[in-house]
């Protein structure tokens, strides 16, 4: 099994006709994802790379029984795109777009509060359930179907972790990049909750980074909810200087909060195997699953 995306996923690509959307839609189709339509306002009625294009999400949803969307629209329009997908009550929206203003995301979060739609991202590589569906921009070939779940705040660092797992013979149930922004749709806790009940997941890799307190909260949650599947974690930014934004808008140590050391300590206290370096994620998982 898996979480979030699978063979039943029927995907709409928001921003299909742009260069990013175009390229990645093609990649997702090749992987076997059921990409059913694209949405680009003003281009409804056209066909783009053999996919029908609609002006609105609701039209696309109704015509194709879609349940999921992935967003490639520019940052200035991305918040609106997320809200449109939530208004159409899709099950899942994955927002790849990087650089959305925080103010827009505060509104998005408020708007989603009473909607059934789950958001992953923004500023993330997306979600993949190997062998079933890819909804995002990750390189598919490094993944193998299997039983390890991955939740990560980073993009390429996730690929690094997946690659090591695959090399150690551990396939993945679902790998999720949750995004590097200060406000994101799905947190470590939201997804641990899903992995807890997923029979197809035997262990989880958590990849965090400096800034905020999401890792500390996840550690507390793991203890409180007796999460009994092994977890291996790595926190990027042990050497990052305070007060400097390390690429991701969310990756900043401010006022002494959000350091890697604090996060590693909290995770270890919850019985999680924390790797000192990113090079040992695969072998630590091998150890944890012995």
């Amino acid at each position: 099994m898996s979480i979030l995306v699978n063979k039943e996923t029927r995907l709409i690509v928001q921003g299909l006709t742009g260069s990013e959307g175009s390229f990645h839609a093609q990649q997702m189709v090749e992987y076997g994802t059921q990409v059913v339509a694209g949405v680009t306002p003003g281009k409804g009625g056209q066909t783009h790379n053999d996919l029908p294009v609609y002006n609105t999400i609701k039209e696309a949803r109704d015509a194709h029984d879609a349940n999921t969307s992935v967003i490639f629209v520019p940052p200035a329009f991305a918040a609106d795109a997320i809200m449109e997908a939530a208004d159409a009550e899709l099950d899942l929206v994955v927002c790849i777009t990087e650089g959305i203003p925080v103010k827009d995301m505060i509104q998005v979060r408020r708007y989603l509060a009473d909607k059934p739609t789950r958001l992953v991202g923004p500023n993330c590589p997306g979600v993949i359930s190997p062998g079933q569906a890819k909804v995002g921009i990750m390189p598919a070939f490094i993944h193998e179907p299997g039983k390890v779940g991955i939740i990560s705040r980073s993009g390429t660092l996730t690929y690094e972790a997946v690659h090591q797992l695959t090399n150690h013979g551990f396939g993945q149930s679902t790998a999720i990049g949750i995004g590097g922004d200060p406000i994101i749709g799905s947190t470590f806790i939201d997804l641990l909750t899903l992995f807890k009940d997923d029979d197809g997941t035997d262990a989880v890799v958590l990849i965090g980074e400096i800034g905020g307190s999401a890792e500390e909260e996840a550690a507390k949650w793991v203890t409180k909810n007796n999460f009994d599947k092994p977890i291996v974690a790595f926190i990027a930014g042990q050497t990052a200087p305070p007060g400097r934004r390390m690429g991701h808008a969310g990756a900043i140590i401010s006022g002494g909060q959000g350091t890697a050391a604090d996060k590693m300590k909290a995770l270890r206290a919850a019985g999680i195997s924390v790797c000192d370096t990113p090079a040992t994620i695969g072998e630590t998982m091998a150890e944890a699953l012995k």
Partner: protein
């Protein structure tokens, strides 16, 4: 993006948030004439740099008359100000704010910032003004009062009143604090700020509430819709290498070590710095070349890393996903053929077309140290500077 105190106060004034009268000067003569304009009595001369702790560093002085203001401005303009936020190298002061002296009754704190845990803006006040709010938060968190702002309705007057009463204000002080708080919220909200901090917020002996200091930072992702705020950017406050990097869409932060790093992706870039340190080395920088590491960006990245005279070896760590490793390899070869790089370059390319990339590197006439994985890359680059 950060701005100067005098710029923050200009914005506050525009929103009718009370600040002391004052103007910025870049020469001692101007400082004197501003002090005269302000009425000739006591003024404060404040160094304008993008760092806190200016008072302790000797960058804020009281002048009893315009002549003294001129003399103090003469001392402060051009000085190298060292505070706990500038680092030991300090920052050169180019301008001073000349401001009317204020009879301080009470020193309070007011600030707006995103509370990531709830995804809303928090309006915070405290009776402990004039000290670092982080210190108050750590030692006596009960002295910080908070109101969270619902984005659907914005910051409400009842919330402003609640904060004012919580600070122990009375009578007209409450009215003037509420007006101040509502105005400060509008500044934060309408300018896409990421931080607005008034520390200290003072109640004068006459009962007025005003901003003695002001710090406003802005959300870089929202600057595209604020042309006026973009004009406040002061490039002299930023490291030249970081400004140069931003022109190429590269994210570069200089550090103190000697192993230069070039990586795609922020998380992997941080993790690469971590493993260098863990292997016994010191990273010279954070550099994220982004998702589309092309020949051009790789070359620009090299040029920027090479400007740092401490760098003795460079580690390139690329995990090719959508970006193909063979293209990155070609970029590295082109860059090194054009540039005069006289130090070891350790290359680790993994992911899409990694094998083709390894062949390209080996066939080129240039010298590379090829690493097979992350651990090996860290080991080889640390060995190269030993």
């Amino acid at each position: 993006m950060k701005i100067h105190e005098y710029q923050a106060k200009e914005i506050l004034r525009r929103y009718k948030v009370a600040v002391p009268d004052g103007k910025v000067a870049d020469t001692p003569e101007k400082a004197k004439s501003i002090a005269e304009e302000l009425g000739g009595s006591t003024v404060v001369v404040k160094a304008q740099i993008h760092a806190g702790g200016r008072g302790k560093g000797g960058g804020v002085k009281l002048a009893k008359n315009p002549d003294e203001a001129q003399q103090l401005a003469n001392e402060i303009i051009g000085m190298n100000l060292v505070t706990h936020q500038t680092g030991p190298e300090g920052k050169q002061v180019n301008q001073v704010l000349i401001e009317q002296g204020v009879d301080i009754g009470r020193e309070l704190y007011a600030g707006l910032v995103l509370d990531r845990a709830v995804g809303r803006t928090a309006f915070m006040v405290s009776t402990e003004g004039g000290v670092e709010i982080e210190k108050v938060a750590a030692e006596s968190p009960e002295k910080i009062l908070k109101e969270w702002i619902d984005p659907a309705v914005g910051f409400r007057p009842f919330q402003a009143r609640s904060l004012a009463y919580g600070l122990g204000l009375e009578g007209d002080q409450v009215k003037s604090a509420v007006k101040f708080f509502m105005g400060l919220y509008r500044v934060y909200e309408e300018s896409d700020a990421s931080l607005a901090e008034i520390n200290p917020l003072v109640v004068t002996k006459q009962g007025n509430v005003l901003a003695l200091d002001a710090k406003i930072n802005f959300d870089d992702n929202a600057l595209y819709r604020h042309k006026d705020i973009q004009e406040y950017r002061d490039l002299s406050e930023e490291a030249p290498s970081e400004v140069e990097a931003s022109k190429y869409g590269l994210n570069y932060i200089k550090l103190d070590g000697n192993v230069g790093c070039m990586v795609n992706g922020a998380g992997l870039a941080m993790a690469t710095m971590d493993i260098i340190k863990h292997t016994g080395g010191e990273p010279a920088n954070f550099l994220d070349v982004g998702g589309s590491a092309s020949a051009e960006t790789v070359k620009a990245g090299f040029e920027i890393i090479m400007q740092d005279k401490n760098v003795q070896a460079v580690l390139i760590n690329i995990f090719g996903g959508i970006v193909r490793c063979d293209r990155v390899a070609q970029g590295i070869i082109d860059a090194l053929s054009d540039l005069d790089v006289d130090m070891p370059v350790v290359v680790r390319l993994e992911g899409t077309n990694a094998e083709e990339a390894a062949e390209l590197l080996q066939e080129s006439s240039l010298e590379f140290v090829v690493a097979k994985d992350l651990k090996d890359a860290a080991k080889k680059s640390v060995a190269a500077v030993a």
